[in-house]
Symmetry: C2
Subunit: 351 residues, 2 copies
């Protein structure tokens, strides 16, 4: 399966993901995609569209059918036009009898497509293996490579990437110092992250308490950590930098707080802080097919626990309007934050 | 001369700089230092103190007499207790009949001391060669090493470091894109920096003008610059990052705006920005005497133009109170900003 997914990513970069396409020609209602024709709030601008069979794929490309299409935070940012990559318009979907406004775009960036061989992953694992786990894996290997016994610090530790970081680190004996937002059920979240292998879990509120910070310094970080992973930015991230070692590297891969990275210049001058960023899409661009397949193989063998998820079944018999409403409504909930589960769309056949 | 200065820096790290000490034993009033016993506003807490001869130096150390003692921005930050390095208290100055409160500290971090051999530098060049010019030189050589024809961008371009960057870059055929604050006599500053070799000079205000920014992108930076030097931080620095190339390095060595470094996280994730810092004192710690001497030799051979300066003569016949008042008063003017000249103290003998 994996080679075919990688293959698709390479050659069919414009082929959408929040969609289902069948290679048979008789089923009409199940050829469906979640699309938008103008940027804006995804819970308002997304529509569903059914379409006839795709034309035969261009040379070196494949038409694939998506089985599960996860909704990742970055997918929503793309629709809001707040992301670095701009989507490419798709025209092949509205040929013939369909009148969806041009240009239109199809949401999404990964998923489980029809497989040609199996490596024994669950559907959910397979549908979510190309974005979050490789981000976690590469951030642990591309900057400061922590060794067994070393400590890595991260915020947004309950994000899908954060959970993958915890698990990958734990398999290598790397300790993790994890930060999450405080919440009523914080103990159950701590227990869950610890069950994944998290060594320590604290909240950003803990960083406001001098005694707790001193305690973390004395008993956990000691001389400080040399690698910090950030998907939050803003105030909590600044507070965490007090736990860094000299010459540490802070790698950003997100900014959930929607705040910039705000750091005292003195950290760079006197403590030799190094700030970097990581973007998995760029990694794919810069690496060969062989390297990508090798990474997928490594990740599959790690057998990471599935993220907590919810599958949104989009019935083949439902109208495009009904499907669009279903998708918009779950996205509105995700946008409130704290949804806590990865949502995957399953486009069901019409029969 | 240089080896003896380097030697002093190594072995007499606690020996103060804003001071004059004579190796003869009969001149009393000229053994004077600018000291403080509590942290605070330098224009309020600094005193002058005369003192008897120093005791013989410890093994591998020298007692030296300062001829010119520059006042650098970082020196003021140390006195304000806003700097990373804390001064070490000095006790030898108040032995005997002197009653200055203990502990007390001596200000300053470089200067021209009594020489044992000459390399032909002017007094002012020699007094200001250990902090600003090596900072400029090392920032151009330790991160992204620009080649002939490449473009380096910097803010605070009229600072002593900025002027050294312009000159060192120009000697190597490296183009510089310089930013300074707007001011009534901006044209004369631009002319001055261009006379040092600056390729382009703009103000931070120019960054607010879309047309000017577009013009800079089209005609100067094109694909962007790969090295940016920052001693300002805050808003102007954020605006400048729009002119950076992908995978550029931003090196900070100061924060004159007294603002943190505020950068969109997306710059790190999508444009692979790398943020670093540079601190010359740390460079000295991490390099051998031979490497330091080599650097001083290289800098001396570059024959950089003296910074615009003003020498404050501290008369040997003046009382400690009068001298303290002189020093405090010039520092108050420096603190207003835009003083534009490096101030060097000259401790005159008593006769």
């Amino acid at each position: 399966m994996l080679p075919s997914i990688r293959c698709r990513r390479t050659n069919l970069i414009r082929r959408p993901c929040l969609s289902a396409r069948l290679s048979t020609s008789s089923v009409l209602l199940a050829n469906r995609a979640i699309v938008y024709s103008s940027f804006g709030n995804p819970s308002e601008v997304l529509s569903a569209i059914t379409y006839p069979d795709l034309p035969p794929p261009p040379s070196k490309s494949l038409n694939v059918k998506y089985i599960l299409s996860p909704i990742n935070p970055a997918d929503l940012n793309v629709i809001e036009n707040k992301y670095h990559s701009k989507p490419s318009p798709v025209s092949s979907l509205s040929e013939g009898r369909h009148k969806f406004p041009e240009p239109h775009y199809v949401g999404g960036n990964e998923g489980l497509a029809e497989v040609t061989e199996s490596v024994g992953l669950s559907e959910v694992n397979a549908a979510t293996i190309t974005v979050n786990p490789p981000t976690a894996y590469n951030m642990l290997h591309s900057f400061v490579e922590p060794k067994e016994g070393d400590l890595v610090m991260q915020n947004g530790a309950n994000s899908a990437v954060g959970q993958a970081v915890i698990q990958i680190a734990a398999r290598k004996g790397i300790r993790t110092l994890n930060f999450v937002r405080n919440r009523p059920d914080i103990d159950s979240l701590k227990n869950y992250l610890q069950s994944l292998g998290a060594t320590h879990v604290f909240t950003y509120d803990d960083l406001k308490d001098k005694e707790t910070v001193q305690n973390i310094k004395t008993t956990i970080t000691k001389k400080g950590t040399s690698l910090m992973l950030n998907c939050v930015s803003g105030e909590p991230t600044k507070d965490m930098t007090r736990l860094l070692a000299d010459s540490a590297t802070l790698v950003s891969y997100g900014a959930m707080s929607k705040q910039p990275l705000i750091l005292p210049t003195s950290l760079f001058i006197f403590r030799d802080l190094r700030c970097r960023g990581f973007w998995q899409s760029k990694w794919y661009e810069e690496h060969s097919i062989q390297q990508r397949e090798e990474l997928m193989k490594t990740l599959a063998e790690l057998k990471l626990r599935e993220p907590e998820y919810e599958i949104l079944n989009l019935k083949g018999t439902a109208s495009d309007e009904e499907v669009a409403q279903q998708v918009r409504s779950v996205i509105a909930k995700i946008q409130e934050g704290r949804y806590g589960r990865k949502v995957l769309l399953r486009f069901e056949p019409a029969q």
